[in-house]
Protein backbone atom coordinates (compact mmCIF):
# COMPACT_ATOMS: atom_id res chain seq x y z
CA UNK A 1 0.00 0.00 0.00
CA UNK A 2 1.47 3.29 -1.09
CA UNK A 3 1.86 6.30 1.12
CA UNK A 4 -0.59 8.25 -1.02
CA UNK A 5 -3.30 5.60 -0.69
CA UNK A 6 -2.78 5.52 3.08
CA UNK A 7 -3.18 9.26 3.41
CA UNK A 8 -6.25 9.21 1.19
CA UNK A 9 -7.93 6.45 3.21
CA UNK A 10 -6.98 7.55 6.72
CA UNK A 11 -6.97 11.29 6.08
CA UNK A 12 -10.68 12.08 6.39
CA UNK A 13 -11.18 10.48 9.80
CA UNK A 14 -7.87 11.67 11.24
CA UNK A 15 -8.68 15.20 10.10
CA UNK A 16 -12.22 14.97 11.51
CA UNK A 17 -10.85 13.76 14.85
CA UNK A 18 -8.16 16.42 14.96
CA UNK A 19 -10.64 19.27 14.34
CA UNK A 20 -13.71 18.01 16.22
CA UNK A 21 -12.12 16.04 19.04
CA UNK A 22 -8.53 17.02 19.79
CA UNK A 23 -8.93 20.77 19.27
CA UNK A 24 -12.13 20.97 21.39
CA UNK A 25 -10.40 19.07 24.21
CA UNK A 26 -7.40 21.42 24.08
CA UNK A 27 -9.82 24.35 24.04
CA UNK A 28 -11.48 22.91 27.15
CA UNK A 29 -8.09 22.88 28.87
CA UNK A 30 -7.53 26.52 27.86
CA UNK A 31 -10.99 27.50 29.15
CA UNK A 32 -10.34 25.77 32.47
CA UNK A 33 -7.36 28.10 32.90
CA UNK A 34 -9.23 31.24 31.90
CA UNK A 35 -11.39 33.69 33.81
CA UNK A 36 -15.00 34.58 33.24
CA UNK A 37 -16.54 37.89 34.16
CA UNK A 38 -20.11 38.83 33.27
CA UNK A 39 -20.33 35.93 30.87
CA UNK A 40 -17.23 36.98 28.93
CA UNK A 41 -14.16 34.74 28.81
CA UNK A 42 -10.80 36.33 29.52
CA UNK A 43 -7.93 34.24 28.25
CA UNK A 44 -5.55 33.86 31.17
CA UNK A 45 -3.46 31.08 32.63
CA UNK A 46 -4.83 30.90 36.12
CA UNK A 47 -4.99 27.74 38.24
CA UNK A 48 -7.72 29.34 40.40
CA UNK A 49 -10.51 26.97 39.36
CA UNK A 50 -8.41 23.92 40.18
CA UNK A 51 -7.43 25.46 43.52
CA UNK A 52 -11.11 26.18 44.16
CA UNK A 53 -11.99 22.55 43.38
CA UNK A 54 -9.27 20.99 45.54
CA UNK A 55 -9.76 23.27 48.56
CA UNK A 56 -13.55 23.23 48.76
CA UNK A 57 -14.83 20.51 51.08
CA UNK A 58 -18.02 20.14 49.03
CA UNK A 59 -16.21 19.31 45.80
CA UNK A 60 -13.72 17.03 47.53
CA UNK A 61 -16.70 15.21 49.04
CA UNK A 62 -18.26 14.91 45.59
CA UNK A 63 -15.01 13.53 44.21
CA UNK A 64 -14.79 10.99 47.05
CA UNK A 65 -18.43 9.93 46.53
CA UNK A 66 -17.84 9.57 42.78
CA UNK A 67 -14.81 7.33 43.25
CA UNK A 68 -16.57 5.33 45.97
CA UNK A 69 -19.65 4.71 43.80
CA UNK A 70 -17.34 3.75 40.93
CA UNK A 71 -15.49 1.27 43.16
CA UNK A 72 -18.66 -0.38 44.49
CA UNK A 73 -20.11 -0.60 40.97
CA UNK A 74 -16.90 -2.23 39.75
CA UNK A 75 -16.76 -4.82 42.53
CA UNK A 76 -20.45 -5.77 42.21
CA UNK A 77 -20.16 -5.95 38.40
CA UNK A 78 -17.18 -8.25 38.75
CA UNK A 79 -18.97 -10.52 41.22
CA UNK A 80 -22.08 -10.73 39.01
CA UNK A 81 -20.24 -10.72 35.71
CA UNK A 82 -17.66 -13.43 36.39
CA UNK A 83 -20.08 -16.38 36.60
CA UNK A 84 -21.88 -15.08 33.53
CA UNK A 85 -18.70 -14.74 31.50
CA UNK A 86 -17.41 -18.12 32.72
CA UNK A 87 -20.62 -19.81 31.64
CA UNK A 88 -20.69 -17.98 28.29
CA UNK A 89 -17.06 -18.84 27.53
CA UNK A 90 -17.53 -22.56 28.18
CA UNK A 91 -21.06 -23.24 27.06
CA UNK A 92 -21.73 -25.27 23.95
CA UNK A 93 -25.45 -24.66 24.26
CA UNK A 94 -27.32 -23.94 21.06
CA UNK A 95 -28.88 -21.03 22.93
CA UNK A 96 -25.54 -19.23 23.04
CA UNK A 97 -26.48 -16.64 20.37
CA UNK A 98 -29.59 -15.82 22.39
CA UNK A 99 -27.46 -15.39 25.53
CA UNK A 100 -25.20 -12.99 23.63
CA UNK A 101 -28.30 -11.04 22.55
CA UNK A 102 -29.32 -10.85 26.22
CA UNK A 103 -25.94 -9.36 27.09
CA UNK A 104 -25.75 -7.04 24.08
CA UNK A 105 -29.31 -5.76 24.01
CA UNK A 106 -29.03 -3.74 27.21
CA UNK A 107 -26.03 -2.07 25.56
CA UNK A 108 -28.11 -1.10 22.58
CA UNK A 109 -31.09 0.09 24.60
CA UNK A 110 -30.61 3.74 25.51
CA UNK A 111 -29.42 4.63 28.98
CA UNK A 112 -32.47 6.81 29.66
CA UNK A 113 -34.74 3.83 29.02
CA UNK A 114 -32.78 1.56 31.33
CA UNK A 115 -32.92 4.16 34.08
CA UNK A 116 -36.63 4.55 33.51
CA UNK A 117 -37.07 0.78 33.95
CA UNK A 118 -35.37 1.02 37.34
CA UNK A 119 -37.50 4.05 38.24
CA UNK A 120 -40.68 2.05 37.58
CA UNK A 121 -39.33 -0.71 39.83
CA UNK A 122 -37.75 1.27 42.66
CA UNK A 123 -39.88 4.41 43.10
CA UNK A 124 -41.88 5.00 46.29
CA UNK A 125 -45.03 4.15 44.35
CA UNK A 126 -43.08 1.82 42.07
CA UNK A 127 -43.68 -1.85 41.41
CA UNK A 128 -41.72 -3.25 44.37
CA UNK A 129 -43.02 -0.84 47.00
CA UNK A 130 -46.58 -0.75 45.70
CA UNK A 131 -46.76 -4.54 45.68
CA UNK A 132 -45.36 -4.80 49.21
CA UNK A 133 -47.69 -2.12 50.58
CA UNK A 134 -50.74 -3.47 48.75
CA UNK A 135 -50.32 -6.87 50.35
CA UNK A 136 -49.85 -5.29 53.75
CA UNK A 137 -46.26 -6.48 54.17
CA UNK A 138 -45.12 -2.92 54.60
CA UNK A 139 -46.74 0.27 55.79
CA UNK A 140 -44.20 2.78 54.50
CA UNK A 141 -42.31 2.29 51.26
CA UNK A 142 -38.65 1.24 51.38
CA UNK A 143 -36.19 3.96 50.33
CA UNK A 144 -34.97 2.24 47.15
CA UNK A 145 -34.53 5.25 44.89
CA UNK A 146 -33.13 8.79 45.14
CA UNK A 147 -30.21 7.43 47.16
CA UNK A 148 -26.88 5.67 46.67
CA UNK A 149 -28.50 2.24 46.77
CA UNK A 150 -30.69 2.91 43.74
CA UNK A 151 -27.87 4.61 41.88
CA UNK A 152 -25.54 1.66 42.50
CA UNK A 153 -28.15 -0.87 41.31
CA UNK A 154 -28.71 1.07 38.09
CA UNK A 155 -24.99 1.71 37.53
CA UNK A 156 -24.22 -2.00 37.87
CA UNK A 157 -27.00 -2.78 35.42
CA UNK A 158 -25.75 -0.25 32.88
CA UNK A 159 -22.09 -1.30 32.96
CA UNK A 160 -22.29 -5.04 33.66
CA UNK A 161 -22.28 -5.94 29.92
CA UNK A 162 -18.87 -4.26 29.51
CA UNK A 163 -17.48 -6.39 32.33
CA UNK A 164 -18.94 -9.57 30.85
CA UNK A 165 -17.54 -8.83 27.38
CA UNK A 166 -14.05 -8.11 28.77
CA UNK A 167 -14.04 -11.27 30.90
CA UNK A 168 -15.46 -13.60 28.25
CA UNK A 169 -12.80 -12.57 25.75
CA UNK A 170 -10.05 -13.65 28.13
CA UNK A 171 -11.75 -16.73 29.61
CA UNK A 172 -12.38 -18.12 26.16
CA UNK A 173 -8.68 -18.05 25.36
CA UNK A 174 -7.69 -20.22 28.33
CA UNK A 175 -6.71 -23.65 27.03
CA UNK A 176 -9.09 -26.28 28.48
CA UNK A 177 -6.13 -28.71 28.53
CA UNK A 178 -4.51 -26.64 31.29
CA UNK A 179 -7.50 -27.17 33.55
CA UNK A 180 -7.74 -30.85 32.61
CA UNK A 181 -4.02 -31.26 33.30
CA UNK A 182 -4.33 -29.77 36.76
CA UNK A 183 -7.25 -32.08 37.52
CA UNK A 184 -5.35 -35.11 36.18
CA UNK A 185 -2.60 -34.16 38.58
CA UNK A 186 -5.12 -34.43 41.39
CA UNK A 187 -6.49 -30.91 41.84
CA UNK A 188 -10.15 -30.66 42.79
CA UNK A 189 -12.33 -28.62 40.37
CA UNK A 190 -12.40 -25.92 43.03
CA UNK A 191 -8.64 -25.86 43.36
CA UNK A 192 -8.20 -25.96 39.57
CA UNK A 193 -10.43 -22.91 39.34
CA UNK A 194 -8.61 -20.92 42.00
CA UNK A 195 -5.10 -21.90 40.95
CA UNK A 196 -5.42 -22.08 37.15
CA UNK A 197 -8.51 -20.37 35.71
CA UNK A 198 -8.68 -17.38 38.06
CA UNK A 199 -5.00 -16.35 37.76
CA UNK A 200 -5.11 -16.76 33.97
CA UNK A 201 -8.18 -14.55 33.76
CA UNK A 202 -6.57 -11.73 35.73
CA UNK A 203 -5.92 -9.56 32.63
CA UNK A 204 -9.64 -9.72 31.84
CA UNK A 205 -10.55 -8.90 35.43
CA UNK A 206 -8.24 -5.91 35.40
CA UNK A 207 -9.35 -4.69 31.96
CA UNK A 208 -13.06 -5.09 32.76
CA UNK A 209 -12.65 -3.38 36.13
CA UNK A 210 -10.79 -0.40 34.67
CA UNK A 211 -13.40 -0.04 31.94
CA UNK A 212 -16.38 -0.26 34.29
CA UNK A 213 -14.78 2.06 36.84
CA UNK A 214 -13.95 4.65 34.20
CA UNK A 215 -17.47 4.49 32.73
CA UNK A 216 -19.17 4.53 36.14
CA UNK A 217 -17.36 7.62 37.45
CA UNK A 218 -18.31 9.53 34.29
CA UNK A 219 -22.00 8.60 34.27
CA UNK A 220 -24.45 11.36 35.03
CA UNK A 221 -27.74 10.14 33.59
CA UNK A 222 -28.08 7.52 36.34
CA UNK A 223 -27.41 9.95 39.24
CA UNK A 224 -29.82 12.49 37.73
CA UNK A 225 -32.74 10.13 37.02
CA UNK A 226 -32.38 7.35 39.61
CA UNK A 227 -30.57 9.59 42.11
CA UNK A 228 -33.00 12.47 41.55
CA UNK A 229 -30.19 15.06 41.90
CA UNK A 230 -29.76 13.85 45.49
CA UNK A 231 -26.60 11.82 44.89
CA UNK A 232 -23.92 14.30 43.86
CA UNK A 233 -21.19 13.05 41.56
CA UNK A 234 -18.51 14.80 39.55
CA UNK A 235 -20.08 14.48 36.06
CA UNK A 236 -23.30 15.95 37.45
CA UNK A 237 -21.38 18.95 38.77
CA UNK A 238 -19.86 19.37 35.29
CA UNK A 239 -23.34 19.17 33.74
CA UNK A 240 -24.77 21.75 36.17
CA UNK A 241 -21.85 24.15 35.75
CA UNK A 242 -22.07 23.95 31.98
CA UNK A 243 -25.82 23.95 31.38
CA UNK A 244 -27.41 25.64 34.42
CA UNK A 245 -24.83 27.82 36.20
CA UNK A 246 -23.01 28.66 32.94
CA UNK A 247 -19.68 28.93 34.77
CA UNK A 248 -17.61 27.58 31.91
CA UNK A 249 -14.10 27.87 33.34
CA UNK A 250 -15.04 26.08 36.55
CA UNK A 251 -17.10 23.51 34.63
CA UNK A 252 -14.16 22.92 32.30
CA UNK A 253 -11.80 22.53 35.27
CA UNK A 254 -14.15 19.92 36.78
CA UNK A 255 -14.32 18.15 33.43
CA UNK A 256 -10.55 18.19 33.21
CA UNK A 257 -10.16 16.57 36.61
CA UNK A 258 -12.47 13.82 35.36
CA UNK A 259 -10.49 13.64 32.12
CA UNK A 260 -7.18 13.20 33.92
CA UNK A 261 -8.59 10.34 35.99
CA UNK A 262 -10.03 8.69 32.85
CA UNK A 263 -6.87 9.10 30.81
CA UNK A 264 -4.80 7.55 33.59
CA UNK A 265 -7.24 4.61 33.70
CA UNK A 266 -7.29 4.28 29.91
CA UNK A 267 -3.50 4.26 29.75
CA UNK A 268 -3.39 1.34 32.17
CA UNK A 269 -6.29 -0.30 30.30
CA UNK A 270 -4.43 -0.18 26.97
CA UNK A 271 -1.30 -1.57 28.62
CA UNK A 272 -3.28 -4.42 30.17
CA UNK A 273 -5.30 -5.42 27.15
CA UNK A 274 -2.69 -4.91 24.41
CA UNK A 275 -4.29 -7.00 21.75
CA UNK A 276 -5.84 -9.52 24.14
CA UNK A 277 -9.24 -7.94 23.64
CA UNK A 278 -10.69 -7.54 20.26
CA UNK A 279 -14.35 -6.93 20.86
CA UNK A 280 -16.65 -4.04 20.57
CA UNK A 281 -15.38 -2.23 23.62
Amino acid sequence: MTRGARVLLLGPYVLLLAVFFTVPLLLMLAISLSRQSFGQLEWTLTPQHYIHFFTDAYYLGVLADTLWLGAITTVVSLLLGYPLAYHLALTRSRWKPLLIVFILSPLLVGIVIRCYGWMILLADRGLINATLVQHGWLTTPLPLMYNKFGVTVALVHVFLPFMVLSLTGVLKRIEPQLIEASQTLGASPRRAFFEVTLPLSLPGILAGSLLVFSLAISSFVVPILVGGFKVHVLPMVVYEQMLSVFDWPFGAANAFVLLLISVALIAVYIKVTERALRGIV
Binding site: M1, P24, H87, L88, F102, I113, Y116, G169, R278, V281
Partner: protein, 257 residues
Protein backbone atom coordinates in the same frame (compact mmCIF):
# COMPACT_ATOMS: atom_id res chain seq x y z
CA UNK B 1 -25.88 -26.25 39.49
CA UNK B 2 -25.09 -23.25 41.69
CA UNK B 3 -23.37 -21.70 38.65
CA UNK B 4 -26.47 -22.22 36.52
CA UNK B 5 -28.83 -20.71 39.06
CA UNK B 6 -26.63 -17.67 39.67
CA UNK B 7 -26.12 -17.18 35.94
CA UNK B 8 -29.89 -17.32 35.44
CA UNK B 9 -30.40 -14.73 38.16
CA UNK B 10 -27.88 -12.35 36.63
CA UNK B 11 -29.55 -12.68 33.21
CA UNK B 12 -32.87 -11.91 34.89
CA UNK B 13 -31.30 -8.83 36.48
CA UNK B 14 -29.99 -7.70 33.07
CA UNK B 15 -33.33 -8.08 31.34
CA UNK B 16 -35.64 -7.02 34.18
CA UNK B 17 -35.82 -3.23 33.59
CA UNK B 18 -36.49 -3.69 29.87
CA UNK B 19 -39.19 -6.29 30.46
CA UNK B 20 -40.80 -4.02 33.04
CA UNK B 21 -40.79 -1.04 30.68
CA UNK B 22 -42.47 -3.09 27.94
CA UNK B 23 -45.09 -4.45 30.37
CA UNK B 24 -45.77 -0.94 31.70
CA UNK B 25 -46.28 0.31 28.14
CA UNK B 26 -49.13 -2.16 27.60
CA UNK B 27 -50.63 -1.74 31.07
CA UNK B 28 -53.87 0.23 31.41
CA UNK B 29 -53.08 1.90 34.76
CA UNK B 30 -51.15 5.09 35.48
CA UNK B 31 -48.89 3.20 37.83
CA UNK B 32 -47.55 -0.21 37.10
CA UNK B 33 -48.57 -2.56 39.90
CA UNK B 34 -48.64 -6.27 40.26
CA UNK B 35 -50.90 -7.86 39.08
CA UNK B 36 -51.29 -5.61 35.97
CA UNK B 37 -54.52 -3.68 35.52
CA UNK B 38 -55.40 -4.85 32.04
CA UNK B 39 -54.15 -4.46 28.50
CA UNK B 40 -54.22 -1.12 26.72
CA UNK B 41 -52.65 0.55 23.73
CA UNK B 42 -53.55 4.07 24.84
CA UNK B 43 -49.97 5.00 25.81
CA UNK B 44 -48.79 4.08 22.34
CA UNK B 45 -51.65 6.11 20.87
CA UNK B 46 -50.57 9.06 22.98
CA UNK B 47 -46.94 8.63 21.85
CA UNK B 48 -47.91 8.61 18.17
CA UNK B 49 -50.26 11.58 18.58
CA UNK B 50 -47.84 13.88 20.32
CA UNK B 51 -46.10 16.10 17.83
CA UNK B 52 -42.95 16.60 19.90
CA UNK B 53 -42.36 12.83 20.10
CA UNK B 54 -43.00 12.31 16.39
CA UNK B 55 -40.65 15.14 15.45
CA UNK B 56 -38.01 13.74 17.81
CA UNK B 57 -38.43 10.24 16.38
CA UNK B 58 -38.01 11.55 12.85
CA UNK B 59 -34.96 13.62 13.78
CA UNK B 60 -33.33 10.64 15.52
CA UNK B 61 -33.97 8.33 12.57
CA UNK B 62 -32.62 10.81 10.05
CA UNK B 63 -29.61 11.64 12.21
CA UNK B 64 -28.82 7.96 12.80
CA UNK B 65 -29.13 7.24 9.09
CA UNK B 66 -26.68 9.93 7.97
CA UNK B 67 -24.36 9.14 10.86
CA UNK B 68 -24.30 5.47 9.80
CA UNK B 69 -23.66 6.34 6.16
CA UNK B 70 -20.83 8.76 6.91
CA UNK B 71 -19.12 6.73 9.63
CA UNK B 72 -19.30 3.54 7.56
CA UNK B 73 -17.55 5.16 4.60
CA UNK B 74 -14.95 7.00 6.70
CA UNK B 75 -14.44 4.09 9.10
CA UNK B 76 -14.10 1.38 6.43
CA UNK B 77 -11.58 3.51 4.55
CA UNK B 78 -9.57 4.12 7.73
CA UNK B 79 -9.62 0.46 8.77
CA UNK B 80 -7.82 -0.74 5.61
CA UNK B 81 -4.44 0.97 6.11
CA UNK B 82 -4.71 0.36 9.87
CA UNK B 83 -4.84 -3.41 9.26
CA UNK B 84 -2.66 -3.73 6.17
CA UNK B 85 -0.26 -0.81 6.27
CA UNK B 86 3.25 -1.35 7.56
CA UNK B 87 4.35 2.05 8.73
CA UNK B 88 5.85 3.73 11.74
CA UNK B 89 3.38 5.04 14.29
CA UNK B 90 0.63 2.61 13.31
CA UNK B 91 -0.03 1.56 16.90
CA UNK B 92 -0.18 5.18 17.99
CA UNK B 93 -2.58 5.99 15.17
CA UNK B 94 -4.69 2.99 16.13
CA UNK B 95 -4.97 4.30 19.68
CA UNK B 96 -5.79 7.78 18.38
CA UNK B 97 -8.64 6.71 16.09
CA UNK B 98 -10.31 4.65 18.81
CA UNK B 99 -9.86 7.29 21.53
CA UNK B 100 -13.40 8.76 21.25
CA UNK B 101 -14.60 5.31 22.29
CA UNK B 102 -12.55 5.24 25.46
CA UNK B 103 -12.96 8.83 26.60
CA UNK B 104 -16.15 9.40 28.64
CA UNK B 105 -18.69 10.96 26.30
CA UNK B 106 -19.62 13.70 28.73
CA UNK B 107 -16.11 15.12 28.16
CA UNK B 108 -16.45 14.99 24.37
CA UNK B 109 -19.85 16.66 24.78
CA UNK B 110 -18.60 19.48 27.01
CA UNK B 111 -15.55 20.10 24.80
CA UNK B 112 -17.67 20.18 21.61
CA UNK B 113 -20.27 22.48 23.22
CA UNK B 114 -17.58 25.04 24.08
CA UNK B 115 -15.90 24.65 20.69
CA UNK B 116 -19.15 25.09 18.76
CA UNK B 117 -20.30 28.01 20.89
CA UNK B 118 -17.08 29.92 20.27
CA UNK B 119 -17.52 29.23 16.55
CA UNK B 120 -21.21 30.24 16.77
CA UNK B 121 -22.17 26.81 15.45
CA UNK B 122 -23.98 25.56 18.55
CA UNK B 123 -27.21 23.59 18.36
CA UNK B 124 -27.13 23.20 14.61
CA UNK B 125 -27.97 20.01 12.75
CA UNK B 126 -24.52 19.80 11.18
CA UNK B 127 -22.78 20.24 14.52
CA UNK B 128 -24.86 17.43 16.06
CA UNK B 129 -24.23 15.17 13.06
CA UNK B 130 -20.45 15.70 13.18
CA UNK B 131 -20.45 14.90 16.91
CA UNK B 132 -22.29 11.64 16.26
CA UNK B 133 -19.92 10.69 13.42
CA UNK B 134 -16.90 11.30 15.68
CA UNK B 135 -18.15 8.89 18.34
CA UNK B 136 -19.61 6.16 16.08
CA UNK B 137 -16.76 5.78 13.57
CA UNK B 138 -14.47 3.91 16.01
CA UNK B 139 -17.14 1.18 16.27
CA UNK B 140 -17.14 0.78 12.48
CA UNK B 141 -13.34 0.63 12.47
CA UNK B 142 -13.52 -2.15 15.08
CA UNK B 143 -16.00 -4.34 13.23
CA UNK B 144 -14.34 -3.84 9.82
CA UNK B 145 -10.90 -4.51 11.35
CA UNK B 146 -12.25 -7.76 12.80
CA UNK B 147 -13.33 -9.09 9.38
CA UNK B 148 -10.38 -7.59 7.52
CA UNK B 149 -7.85 -9.40 9.72
CA UNK B 150 -9.16 -12.77 8.50
CA UNK B 151 -9.04 -11.69 4.87
CA UNK B 152 -6.64 -13.61 2.65
CA UNK B 153 -4.60 -11.08 0.69
CA UNK B 154 -3.85 -13.76 -1.92
CA UNK B 155 -7.40 -13.33 -3.26
CA UNK B 156 -6.81 -9.70 -4.08
CA UNK B 157 -3.39 -10.48 -5.54
CA UNK B 158 -4.94 -13.18 -7.73
CA UNK B 159 -7.45 -10.66 -9.09
CA UNK B 160 -4.65 -8.21 -9.80
CA UNK B 161 -2.46 -10.81 -11.52
CA UNK B 162 -5.47 -11.63 -13.69
CA UNK B 163 -5.36 -8.04 -14.82
CA UNK B 164 -7.70 -6.22 -12.46
CA UNK B 165 -6.75 -2.72 -11.40
CA UNK B 166 -6.00 -2.57 -7.60
CA UNK B 167 -9.04 -0.34 -7.06
CA UNK B 168 -11.28 -2.70 -9.00
CA UNK B 169 -9.79 -5.69 -7.16
CA UNK B 170 -10.68 -3.96 -3.92
CA UNK B 171 -14.27 -3.16 -4.82
CA UNK B 172 -15.01 -6.53 -6.42
CA UNK B 173 -13.12 -8.91 -4.15
CA UNK B 174 -12.20 -7.34 -0.82
CA UNK B 175 -15.39 -5.41 -0.23
CA UNK B 176 -17.40 -8.52 -1.03
CA UNK B 177 -15.52 -10.53 1.58
CA UNK B 178 -15.54 -7.92 4.34
CA UNK B 179 -19.16 -6.92 3.68
CA UNK B 180 -20.43 -8.61 6.89
CA UNK B 181 -18.17 -6.42 9.03
CA UNK B 182 -19.08 -3.29 7.07
CA UNK B 183 -22.83 -3.92 7.34
CA UNK B 184 -22.62 -4.86 11.03
CA UNK B 185 -20.58 -1.70 11.63
CA UNK B 186 -23.19 0.41 9.84
CA UNK B 187 -26.03 -1.11 11.86
CA UNK B 188 -24.12 -0.62 15.09
CA UNK B 189 -23.34 3.00 14.19
CA UNK B 190 -27.06 3.54 13.52
CA UNK B 191 -27.96 2.00 16.89
CA UNK B 192 -25.37 4.02 18.84
CA UNK B 193 -26.50 7.25 17.22
CA UNK B 194 -30.22 6.48 17.58
CA UNK B 195 -29.81 5.87 21.32
CA UNK B 196 -27.17 8.46 22.02
CA UNK B 197 -28.03 10.63 24.96
CA UNK B 198 -24.87 11.93 26.58
CA UNK B 199 -23.30 13.64 23.61
CA UNK B 200 -26.62 14.89 22.20
CA UNK B 201 -27.56 16.53 25.49
CA UNK B 202 -24.80 19.09 25.04
CA UNK B 203 -25.45 19.72 21.35
CA UNK B 204 -29.22 20.16 21.20
CA UNK B 205 -31.68 23.00 21.64
CA UNK B 206 -35.43 23.32 22.14
CA UNK B 207 -35.84 23.02 18.38
CA UNK B 208 -33.37 20.20 17.87
CA UNK B 209 -34.24 17.31 20.19
CA UNK B 210 -33.55 13.69 19.29
CA UNK B 211 -35.81 11.04 20.88
CA UNK B 212 -33.64 10.15 23.92
CA UNK B 213 -33.42 13.85 24.87
CA UNK B 214 -37.18 14.30 24.43
CA UNK B 215 -37.79 11.25 26.61
CA UNK B 216 -35.40 12.57 29.27
CA UNK B 217 -37.16 15.94 29.30
CA UNK B 218 -40.53 14.20 29.57
CA UNK B 219 -39.35 12.02 32.49
CA UNK B 220 -38.13 15.02 34.46
CA UNK B 221 -41.69 16.35 34.74
CA UNK B 222 -44.04 13.42 34.37
CA UNK B 223 -44.06 9.80 35.20
CA UNK B 224 -46.92 8.59 33.04
CA UNK B 225 -46.57 5.46 30.91
CA UNK B 226 -46.37 7.38 27.60
CA UNK B 227 -42.64 7.34 28.36
CA UNK B 228 -42.91 3.55 28.63
CA UNK B 229 -44.51 3.36 25.20
CA UNK B 230 -41.71 5.48 23.73
CA UNK B 231 -39.16 3.25 25.47
CA UNK B 232 -40.85 0.02 24.34
CA UNK B 233 -40.74 1.31 20.79
CA UNK B 234 -37.01 2.07 21.08
CA UNK B 235 -36.37 -1.38 22.61
CA UNK B 236 -38.12 -2.89 19.59
CA UNK B 237 -35.83 -0.92 17.28
CA UNK B 238 -32.75 -2.09 19.24
CA UNK B 239 -33.88 -5.73 18.98
CA UNK B 240 -34.34 -5.48 15.22
CA UNK B 241 -30.86 -3.97 14.92
CA UNK B 242 -29.26 -6.73 17.05
CA UNK B 243 -30.93 -9.33 14.84
CA UNK B 244 -29.56 -7.49 11.82
CA UNK B 245 -26.02 -7.68 13.22
CA UNK B 246 -26.52 -11.37 14.02
CA UNK B 247 -27.72 -12.01 10.49
CA UNK B 248 -24.82 -10.24 8.74
CA UNK B 249 -21.81 -10.80 10.92
CA UNK B 250 -22.72 -13.34 13.54
CA UNK B 251 -22.74 -12.24 17.16
CA UNK B 252 -19.75 -14.34 18.23
CA UNK B 253 -17.59 -12.68 15.60
CA UNK B 254 -19.05 -9.27 16.42
CA UNK B 255 -18.27 -9.48 20.13
CA UNK B 256 -14.93 -11.16 19.56
CA UNK B 257 -15.88 -14.49 21.13
Amino acid sequence: MILRVSVGLVYAFLLLPMVIVVLAAFNAGNYFTFPPQGFSLKWFANFFQRREFMQALWLSTELAFWTAVASTVIGTAAAIPLVRGRFRGRDLLNAFVTSPLLLPQILTGVALLQFYTLLKMQASYGALLIGHIVVTTPYVIRTVTATLTHFDLALEEAAQSLGAHPVRAFFEITLGVIKPGVVAGAIFAFAISFDNFTLSLFLTSAKLTPLPIELFAYLKYSFDPTAAAVSAFAIGVALVLVLGIARFMGLEEFTGF
